[in-house]
Symmetry: C2
Subunit: 92 residues, 2 copies
Amino acid sequence: MQTKYLAKIFVTLRPSVLDPAGVAVQSGLKQLGYENVDQVRIGKYIELTITSSDEKKARQDLDTICDQMLSNPVIENYRFDLIEVETQTGVF
Amino acid sequence: MQTKYLAKIFVTLRPSVLDPAGVAVQSGLKQLGYENVDQVRIGKYIELTITSSDEKKARQDLDTICDQMLSNPVIENYRFDLIEVETQTGVF
């Protein structure tokens, strides 16, 4: 039995790391008159589907994928939510 | 009275728009052996704080900010969650 999960992955800069893009956006917003906006941090949001025999296996795979490909663990953190979308039974 | 809100903003490509970065990531993952991953879509995740008199005003500001600066409405959608983090009373 294989289950398909939708993974919503958030990759964010570690709090100690400077975010030049965020600073630029904040400065642009101030020029547009939004003095009330602060602490802009820009990260990545990735959605994908992963098919696995169970949720534990899917989470293990996602940890490796996030570490190896989607984030730079030196400067970024990641977290993800898993949502079950489909269960398939039968022969593969 | 001013309230500070944390906004978590998701900017994603519209479903009809091709995502070359997502296709590249998916192809890379297949080369690493992750044949079970599909439909990779890469978007932006932005956190910021916004100080407003009330939540309605904060949401209006954020709609304008997302439309003008954080997304390209022709090819992208956005949505955001607002979390109240601090209420300040007194003279400013």
